[in-house]
Amino acid sequence: MSLTTNPRTTDTPSRTINQGRPQRTLRDKYGDRAFSIAATAVLMLSILAVVYPLYFIVIASISDPNAVYEGKVWLFPSGMTTEGYERIFADSRIWNGLGNTVIYTVLGTAVSVSTILCGAYALSRKDMPGRKILMLLFVITMFFDGGLITKYLVVRDLGMLDTVWAVVLPGAVGVWNLIIARSFFEHTIPNELREAAQMDGATDFKFFFKMVLPLSKPLIMLMIMIHVVAQWNSFFDALIFLNDDSKYPLQLVLRNILIQSDVSSTGTTGGDIESYAAAQRIAELTKYAMIVVSSLPLMIALPFMQKHFTKGAMIGAVK
């Protein structure tokens, strides 16, 4: 942030200090200006590189598949159609997957967030005997991991295969999130507050639920979002732990349609080539639409979530 003492610059009197434009002085050499222009250009190109593929997918999803196929769609949709979307909404696998994902997300987030908040608060209390050793118990798991195979065998031995719990529990507590939550409590809940509450006879439970949690809304929001996004987007636990496709979450359904079907259709099959090609194009159209539909909920929520994630990065950076 530049500490401009003079709120108004001579050449642009309409700009206020809040817009952060520092005054142009002799010190502001050509080199600086050239650097600014180059930096802005690089960032603009980066933005374009991020946005254009996504934009293309949106317009391709509502364009005539033949136009997309022939490479006529670049900036605007052509030959508008909603067939891709109609096909998705008629596809029961998608709806079923979506329903499962909602269940897994709600349940998983509830389990993860409550476990993390309770555990992190206990670990944030410097007066809890054994705190260091208990913390070490968690930290060790960040650096050494039992591996995929033994995790699978444990879940199998617990009889959780093909149940909701296999998707919800094995990844429930991330140690990194626990550390973020712990340092949040350490930095925002003053010791004096606790001591005062305890003088008034509040137990640790009471203090945690009545005082700490209401004071920790930003943290709770952050934790909820981290877990909603992670659970919404996850597919791997479902892939290894679920066999019954009626239990598949949306991401696994998407994988089977978006990726697996492409792999299996890479070779040309015999038969009626014309109708095969037409079917191919419709399938592509459906894929574009499917990408849009599955990413839309999080993309819409993004501006709302951004603030919390940025804050989370700050807490993480403080360590």
């Binding site: 530049s2 817009q19 952060g20 600086d32 600014s36 930096a39 802005t40 690089v42 960032l43 980066s46 933005i47 991020v50 593929p53 996504l54 293309f56 391709a60 196929y69 476990t115 309770c118 555990g119 206990a122 209390r125 007066d127 208990l134 798991t141 991991d145 039992g146 995929l148 195979i149 033994t150 065998l153 444990v154 094995p170 507590v173 305890q198 640790d204 439970f205 945690f208 987007n233 597919f235 991401q251 696994l252 998407l254 994988r255 990726i259 492409d262 792999v263 890479t266 191919q280 592509e284 499917m290 990408i291 599955s294 999080l298 993309m299 993004l302 951004q306 990065a313 993480g316 950076a317």
Partner: protein
Amino acid sequence: MSRTIPARRGRPVAAPLPQRKNSLSLRLKRISRAWQLYVLLTPAIIYILVFKYWPMYGVQIAFKNYNPVDGFTDSPWVGLTHFIRFVNSYQFGQVVGNTLWIAVLGLLLAFPIPIILALLVNQLQSEKFKKFTQTVLYSPAFISTVVVVGIMFVVLSPRSGLVNNAIQLGGGEPIFFMGSAEWFRPIYVISDVWQNAGFSMIVYLAALAAIDPALHDAAKVDGASKLQRIRHIDLPGIMPVVTILFILAIGNLLNVGFEKALLMQTPLNISTSEIIQTYVYHAGLQQAQFSYSAAIGLFNSLLNLALLLVFNTIARRANQATLW
């Protein structure tokens, strides 16, 4: 501080005496006084015992011939048989090589780019443009891996993909990107940068925001250019964060992006896309060679741990920030 609080209420607050004489009964008293905290911690402890330490205990099957009847503990020992078999298998060189290739390529590209982006975004003057850039650049992090790979398949499709349409427009021949072994690594790394650079940038931006603005003002008075200020103020200012994240990245070098590699695999690119962890998945879960694949997984974990220790030591020698 706690001694100023009267213990009359029956629940005095913290350690009553700062003396070293921690007799057993005193210690037990403190422990029993904190029982509610232990109750709060219990679910998390149960979680790591069951889902982290139990699998860790199970790692011994890497040295055994696991069978479900005998379980982790009673399966017969076979020593290093599985490790030897892996090292001698024809996949060993290929799988380890592929893993190192994408790990190192990823580190070379995916590690510095977020730092550069953060330095560039940080010096933007318009707060609005700053925020807009930030939001746009990190939005792909919210798209799932499945969908990102799905996007690759449609955008890079040889028949109708955007990229191949552009190539044909320029008079080139279409390339079957997802079905070619040479293209796997570039696509893997570029898509990683595309998806995650913006999100990784946030931490550096937070670190940059913590730099004392007085430093910049003083440098400006002395006539330092923007580039000089980035070089001499911003970079040293975020160096501790950079070092720590670098060590963590090294410690995770061989773990990253396994899900994406698995999703991007096609029969045609398997010679470059089969990495240690996808191999563990195929051998272990699809072919049920539990002990053999657990051994490979352990090999991977130990390699990671060794890298982490080495780089942490190097960082300490160089007087940089370290993990411990």
